[in-house]
């Protein structure tokens, strides 16, 4: 049942007011009639009611809706019921009078009445020594309680920690019942302490750490607190936190079971505790999360709060994002998602303090980058400084290797120990992999660039800033900072790792292979596929030789190597390796093992890259079915496969079929991973591109805008992915004819890309073309041509003369020249690109046809009909052969041929030309049928 927070009828809609008791009775009769009706006749019954009592029927519909909810209203007042019970018990309890003796103790004054019992200040009755104690009377009844208390006391006596109040004695009084005697703590409880000292955030976190430490001490001794809350924490006058009432929750478990609920405070109790399960260290961790929340913003943690971050930042808490993530992890609903121990939580507190990335925030690379820079504010000044910073990091890691190696040699005689060392080494390597893999070179590059500029500004405060900075910016425009970052990482960190691996583990092939595999994975994670090839190949070969070709580790390396070949577009090799992996995995793990399925998906990917779409589709469907069975419909990998299947259709020219899969994958990712998860955004982006493909630019625009905003927020405005979205957005806007808006978007994208990636980058090239095309549509030919020329230079240098992109740029430039009236220049360019296409791409590529056709168009504009017709015919032949005679491009070319011949006829009045025009016209009409 869902409960409203406000009692009474305040929220009731106005039409409820019309429901008089008379109407209610009438309505109740109708409802009874409906409920007694056989299911088949219910619809008729409602229709009948609607005709006869139209106004009442509105209510009836609503009532029927409510009656079909199966969930009953019970389970809704568990705590209240037990509290009610407790308070009705309370009335019969008489307080102890001053001077009353309990065992060797004497009551001096009453202190508090609590849910579990009452507390008194007391002292030694026999005067053996002077000691103030807290005596706690427990509301417990039951047989065998005396022995149980003693057992628990011995158990609790194991706790000896400055942060925990000591249990001194326990006993059973005939009248008063069971009691506990504890060390008396002079000071304030947590709430009072906060009100009186108003500590800053840092102080609060320090105190929290003390508390976690104390709880951790107990957990190590297998003692759970079970009722962590502000009232159970006292702060001594010297600032020391003391946790009270340890194990009382457990003690109460032994009593009347209905007391168990009373032994906890709902706002600080873990969900499983509320459900009645016994307390565990995990439930204590949950309570600690709730306590941290309370400590920071003075509010109890709402179990349904969706945006902890803004809740914290509203309360003025600094670093609210990270703290919210910590609280979210500690107080996760599922125990497995929480910090697994107090030690882990303390470690996280240390990470927070030292600006290291938090465990609670695994997904954001930007976040890690920012933390890295925050930790090394001086070092990350420029490229050199970065290298120093990374070398410093490396020295530590290399010395770890050396140390590990030394120790390893010392223990070489004992095989068992050697194995342990190898495991340790692997941990070092995987740590390195994890740390480096998290670095996003694009982000890193942007950071390096920003720091360079800032340093320049700092160095020359007297200079005319704008001009020096502008000069520097111009100088930096040629640098691809992503590559620079990658290179510096590679040269500093990984180079030495490579050397270390070879020198130190040359004669231990298995370890060497493991480390090389790890190194290769690191490089792949960094996006440096070229560099990864060498260690990946070596790792694979070593494993194949040493472990045999069907060993799981060999198969793993085979697949990774296959993937690498795929990235580097050596598909034959890639296929061979992935096939080998699949074969081995099918034999040893089974055909539907998740790893086997992943290899099959890799194979599908390679097939689709080779345009073998049918094979790819079959494999993807096979993978998808397998994953659905083994991993479930909503597993991220299942969704990845579904997304790939969608893209396959798009690639194959069936965007309408693809969209269905893409949309399903998107919906699920939204649900499973969340709206802002990078995978969700990739899905959205794909969907946007596909909609544009289908000509639905309006939807495409909406989608790209959404992705752009999300990425700006997540990655910053200078990240490659953000700029990609901006560019896609610009294209969708441009296609809808909003040229000025498109111009501004493309300008932003281009400037950003030059900043981050340098001019000579494929993405920058794309933006130059987009912007120039937009400008051409706006008849701003001067700037458009200048841009095309720059793009052409980039293409020549970057892609080579015969590359499709180079050709496309040349063809764009010629169109622009033609439109601005420079027919001669246009023809020179179109002719050149047509020749280059024939030379480099050959007669079997439709791009060659496109170049020929473009040249034909320019020639026609210049009145050279004969040459134009011959080029167009050559183009038509290639189009018809490669794309089919019904393809829009082929038809377009046919229509060009009609126009060429018609104009040629007009110029010469040669009848045969008119016939030729008719001939082409017929062909055009025929193919459009």
């Amino acid at each position: 049942m869902r409960l409203r927070a406000v009692p009474g009828h305040a929220v009731m809609t106005t039409h409820h007011a019309e429901l008089t008791d008379t109407r209610r009775r009438a309505l109740d009769k109708l409802l009874t009639g409906y409920l007694e009706c056989p299911v088949k006749e219910q619809a008729d019954y409602i229709a009948r009611c609607r005709r006869r009592w139209p106004r009442l029927s509105r209510w009836l519909a609503e009532l029927i809706g409510h009656s079909q909810t199966v969930s009953l209203l019970d389970r809704s007042f568990n705590h209240l019921a037990s509290e009610a019970l407790a308070s009705s018990n309370d009335q019969s309890v008489q307080p102890l009078e001053t001077g009353r003796r309990l065992g060797p103790w004497r009551v001096t004054e009453p202190v508090a009445q609590g849910g579990m019992g009452s507390v008194y200040l007391g002292e030694r009755a026999d005067g053996a020594f002077e000691l103030d104690v807290a005596i706690k009377l427990l509301k417990l009844r039951g047989r065998g309680l005396g022995q149980h208390l003693q057992r628990e006391c011995r158990y609790l006596a194991r706790l000896d920690h400055p942060g925990i109040t000591r249990l001194l004695d326990a006993g059973l009084d005939q009248q008063a019942g069971p009691f506990l005697v504890m060390e008396w703590v002079d000071g304030q409880n947590l709430g009072e302490w906060i009100q009186s000292t108003r500590p800053n955030n840092r102080r609060r976190l320090d105190l929290f750490e003390q508390i976690v430490e104390a709880i951790g001490h107990a957990h190590q001794r297998l003692i759970v607190h079970g009722d962590i809350k502000p009232d159970n924490i006292r702060i001594k006058n010297n600032g020391q936190a003391k946790v009270m009432d340890f194990g009382v929750a457990r003690l109460l478990d032994a009593g009347d079971q209905s007391d168990r609920v009373r032994a906890m405070t709902p706002a600080f109790a873990a969900p499983e505790q509320l459900a009645g399960e016994p307390v565990t260290p995990h439930s204590d961790i949950w309570s600690l999360g709730a306590l941290l929340h309370w400590l920071l913003c003075g509010k109890t943690l709402s179990r349904h709060c969706e945006d902890l971050t803004s809740e914290l930042s509203c309360k003025g808490v600094e670093r609210s994002v990270e703290l919210a993530a910590m609280i979210g992890k500690a107080s996760a609903t599922t125990p497995e998602y929480r910090y697994q121990s107090c030690a882990e939580l303390i470690d996280e507190l240390h990470r927070l303090r030292q600006h290291h990335p938090l465990r609670a925030m695994p997904d954001s690379r930007r976040y890690r980058m920012v933390r890295f820079v925050r930790r090394n504010p001086v070092l990350v000044g420029g490229i050199t400084a970065t290298i120093i910073a990374l070398s410093a990091g490396l020295t530590a890691t290399t010395s770890m290797y050396l140390e590990a190696e030394r120790a390893w040699r010392a223990a070489a005689a004992e095989q068992a120990q050697a194995d342990a060392r190898a495991a340790e080494l692997e941990q070092v390597a995987s740590f390195q992999e994890q740390q480096l893999g998290e670095i996003d070179p694009e982000q890193f590059g942007a950071v390096i660039r920003q720091n360079l500029l800032r340093q320049r500004e700092d160095m020359s405060p007297q200079d005319d800033h704008s001009s020096t900075v502008a000069a520097l910016e111009r100088a930096l425009a040629g640098i691809n900072f992503t590559d620079a970052a990658l290179e510096s990482l590679d040269r500093t960190f990984l180079d030495q790792t490579r050397t270390a691996i070879n020198e130190q583990f040359g004669n231990q092939p298995e370890i060497k292979a493991r480390l090389l595999q790890s190194l290769a994975s690191t490089q792949v994670a960094l996006g440096d596929h070229q560099q990864a090839m060498d260690p990946q190949t070596t790792a694979f070969e070593i494993r194949r030789t040493v472990l045999g070709k069907s060993h799981p580790e060999t198969l793993h390396s085979a697949r990774e190597l296959g993937r690498l070949h795929k990235f580097l577009q050596d598909y034959e090799q890639a296929l061979k390796l992935v096939e080998m992996a699949i074969e081995g995995q099918t034999e040893h793990l089974g055909a539907t093992h998740p790893d086997t399925l992943l290899s099959k998906r890799d194979m599908a990917d390679i097939n689709s890259k080779q345009q073998k779409f049918d094979e790819a589709e079959a494999l993807l469907r096979n993978t998808l079915n397998g994953q659905r069975q083994v991993l479930g419909n909503d597993h991220p990998e299942t969704l990845m496969t579904m997304n790939m299947l969608g893209l396959l259709f798009v690639d194959r020219g069936q965007p309408a079929d693809g969209i269905e899969y893409l949309e399903t994958a998107l919906e699920k990712r939204r649900k499973v991973l969340g709206e802002q998860h990078p995978h969700t955004l990739i899905s959205l982006n794909n969907l946007g591109i596909t909609h544009a493909d289908l000509g639905d630019f309006q939807t495409a625009e909406e989608i790209h805008r959404q992705v752009f905003y999300a990425r700006t927020k997540q990655l910053g405005s200078d990240h490659g992915n953000t700029l990609r979205s901006l560019s896609n957005l610009g294209f969708a806007v441009q296609q809808q004819g909003r040229l000025e808006e498109a111009e501004s978007l493309h300008r932003q994208a281009l400037e950003g890309r030059i900043r981050v990636l340098g001019e000579a980058h494929a993405d920058s090239w794309t933006s130059m073309n987009h912007l120039a095309l937009t400008l051409t549509s706006m008849e701003q030919h001067g700037e458009a041509q200048a841009l095309f020329e720059r793009a052409l230079e980039v293409a020549y240098e970057h892609f080579g003369p015969g590359h499709r992109r180079t050709l496309a740029t040349a063809s764009n430039l010629s169109t622009s020249k033609q439109r601005s009236g420079d027919l001669e220049g246009a023809a020179r360019l179109s002719g050149q690109s047509a020749r280059q296409a024939v030379e480099h791409l050959g007669q079997k590529d439709w791009v060659t046809a496109a170049m020929l056709m473009n040249h034909a168009r320019v020639l026609k504009a210049g009145g050279e009909y004969r040459e134009s017709a011959s080029q167009a015919e050559a183009a038509h032949e290639i189009f018809a052969r490669t794309l089919g005679k019904d393809h829009p491009r082929t038809i377009d070319c046919t229509e060009l041929l009609v126009r060429v011949h018609n104009q040629w006829f007009k110029a010469t009045k040669d009848e045969s030309l008119r016939q030729q025009a008719r001939h082409w016209e017929e062909r055009a009409e025929h193919s459009t049928d």
């Binding site: 009874t32 009844r141 709430g191």
Partner: protein, 191 residues
Amino acid sequence: MTDADQTRITQLLDRLGEQPGAMARLSELVYQDIHRLAHYQRFEMRAGETLRTTALVHEAFLKIFRDGSADPDIEDRQHLMRLMGRVIRQIIVDHARRKLAEKRGAGAQHEPIDDQSLMDTSEREAAGVLDMESALERLERIDPDLADTVSARFFAGYTADEIAEIKSTSRRTVYRDLQRATAWLRLDMGG
């Protein structure tokens, strides 16, 4: 069932046995109902709710027989069931009222530390119970018998089958009644 429960039930039965007249007649029935609850508790429930309901049932017994002291004049099991539902409902509603009143009273003092607008679980429950109480009062006006059935089910923890048995009616009728009651309560509680 714990030792403590057992002790209390025994005491309760002893007390019932001491009562003259109607009490003597009833003790057998009462005994049966308590054992039904104990059985239900031992075999079917997960820790939690029914347990507390059981405890509340004991509490209600005490209240009925202590407060009504002389002779509560219980006619039959159905009467007892109705009484139980009402009394437990009263205990819980009273507590909810007190709880919210305390909260309002205390509000001014501790404002800076704990945001008072944020209720803890039992406070939310208290608000919900009062909400339900208003809805039940409305239901009582048009069908008092239905209100009693629903109280017996939701507050005293009687199952639909038991209610059917006690009221000598069919299980289907009870289900339908509970469905009807749920509809009204939900409507009046705003969904």
